[in-house]
């Protein structure tokens, strides 16, 4: 099993979500995060002073999948979250030891 963590543009989420629903990935968990990176930050202004907010709101997607599903999912995310501009984000993959479905006794690959 692999764990995919993708940090993407919040505005691209809908598109990625739609693309993923056509892959073997049927589950995911997302959260709002703040990205600090190379991206060009839009500066804000308040009462005459301009300031950089320093971060950009991003969406993080976490998916745990079987090893053989990995490529398909990675491709779906990459293709659909891409604009080609700086700030498109990153995808990280790591190993998972075990997985459990809380509802019943399913484990590991069965639990996904």
């Amino acid at each position: 099993m692999k764990k995919i963590e993708a940090i993407i543009r919040t505005g691209k989420f809908e598109q990625v979500n739609k693309a993923l629903s056509k892959t073997s990935c049927k589950f995911m968990t997302t959260m709002e995060v703040r990205g600090f990176g190379k991206e060009t930050i839009k500066s804000q202004s308040y009462r005459g002073t301009t300031f950089d907010v320093g971060f950009i709101p991003r969406t993080k997607i976490e998916i745990v999948c079987k090893d053989d599903e990995l490529e398909e999912i990675l491709t779906a995310i990459k293709e659909n979250s891409k604009t080609g501009e700086v700030g498109d984000g990153k995808i990280f993959v790591s190993d998972l030891i075990s997985a459990y479905r809380i509802r019943n006794e399913d484990r590991d690959n069965d639990a996904l």
């Binding site: 308040y46 009462r47 005459g48 002073t49 301009t50 300031f51």
Partner: protein, 409 residues
């Protein structure tokens, strides 16, 4: 005993309604102040603002009213006092007391005015002043200092007996600057909020809810029609309707003044500046709302709106941290509005301008010394500023053990 006539009843009704309008300004101030500050201090601000109006009403009954209107015996004086409490004179509820209102109407209208002075301070010292220190300050400033100043002009004191009497129709100086000076002194003595001016840079600390700030300004404008309109002290159709029009036009012009000034200076459409611009226009017209034509009102408001933008920048430059812009709005535009009476409208003239300068000067000196002494004594006794840790955590938790929005943070 004089009879209660229909016209007396109308006049009195209007002053009572104006009282309500000024009362609701306190909700406006509260909204503006929490909107322009961080959510970790909102409970604290609401607590202060809820108590201020209560303090205003109670101290004004206890001594404020009789300090501000001590009666003819103190004409031309610097200080007068007619004793504690409110005593019912004969005919208190007939035109014998005044053509326009009963004693109680007079009292309650003036009482809701009084609390305004402390509310102005509240905004400037927000997010770092100790609760108890602020409460003690409010009691004394609203209960004693504000009515003393008011007495000088409205109560028949020495500013009223100048050869050309000082003219401050609804209180650009007597209310707004009186609050504004204490706001300046308080903000200066407290020092800036942590993180506002690190290494000499200016780091904005955006307010947490601009919708609340905008609601506040709408309510303030709404209430200002009572603040200025009620100061006619009767429902006289011609006078009150003129005041309505000048008040409306000055507020609108203030919005545009600040809009243009901040657009030209910063290339941005800053909502908080437009909101401050409206208030700037309103404060500016307050001193002469009954003495101006429409074009005068427009110019006074427009200039007020422009001034406030530069004032906000200026106070940031000299590192006076005023989270809501209270000093810029109430003090700076209060001075401008008071001067404008000598420049525009019916009262304009050199003599008037001199009287206005005298009034501004005397009130300024007195308020700076008075509020400075007060803040100083409070600082040395109960302390004036929360600890660094409390400030970072927010006054809501440290002073109240509560969170304004427990679900959202």
């Amino acid at each position: 005993m004089e009879e209660v006539t229909p016209i007396f009843t109308v006049h009195n009704l209007w002053i009572m309604i104006a009282t309500l309008l000024v009362f609701i300004m306190h909700l406006g101030f509260a909204n503006l102040e929490i909107g322009l500050t961080r959510s970790k201090n909102s409970v604290n601000i609401l607590f202060k603002n809820t108590l201020i109006i209560s303090i205003g009403i109670l101290t004004y009954a206890l001594c404020g009213f009789n300090l501000m209107y001590p009666g003819e015996a103190f004409e031309g004086a610097f200080f007068g006092f007619a004793g504690f409490g409110i005593s019912l004179s004969e005919g208190w509820n007939t035109p014998a007391y005044d053509e326009g209102y009963t004693l109680y109407t007079d009292f309650i209208f003036q009482a809701v005015f009084a609390a305004t002075a402390a509310t102005i301070v509240s905004g400037a010292v927000a997010e770092r002043m100790k609760l108890i220190a602020f409460i003690v300050f409010s009691f004394l400033y609203v209960g004693i200092f504000y009515p003393m100043v008011g007495m000088w002009s409205w109560g028949g004191g020495f500013l009223d007996t100048l050869s050309t009497p000082f003219y401050d129709f609804a209180g650009s100086t007597l209310v707004h600057s009186t609050g504004g000076w204490a706001a300046l002194v308080g903000a200066w003595m407290l020092g800036p909020r942590i993180g506002k001016y690190p290494n000499g840079k200016i780091i904005p600390i955006p307010g947490h809810s601009l919708p609340l700030a905008a609601i506040g300004v709408f309510l303030l404008w709404f209430g200002w029609f009572g603040f200025n309109g009620g100061s006619v002290l009767s429902a006289n159709p011609g006078e009150v309707s003129l005041v309505f029009v000048t008040t409306a036009i000055a507020g609108a012009a203030g919005a545009f003044g600040a809009f243009f000034a901040s657009y030209i200076k910063f290339k941005t459409n800053d909502l908080t500046m437009v909101l401050n611009g409206i208030l700037a226009g309103l404060v500016s017209i307050t001193a002469g709302a009954d003495a101006m034509g429409l074009i005068d009102a427009f110019i006074i408001g427009l200039i007020g709106g422009i001034i406030v933008v530069f004032a906000v920048v200026f106070f940031d430059m000299i590192k006076i941290d005023d989270p809501v812009g209270a000093i810029s709005v109430h003090l700076v535009c209060g001075i401008w509005g008071t001067l404008a009476v000598g420049i525009f409208g019916n009262e304009a003239g050199w003599n008037q301008l001199v009287s206005q300068l005298i009034g501004i000067g005397v009130v300024g000196v007195f308020c700076v010394i008075g509020s400075g002494a007060l803040f100083f004594v409070i600082k040395k006794t109960i302390g004036i500023r929360v600890t660094e840790e409390e400030e970072i955590e927010g006054l809501d938790i440290s002073e109240h053990k509560m969170s304004a929005y427990p679900e959202f943070n």
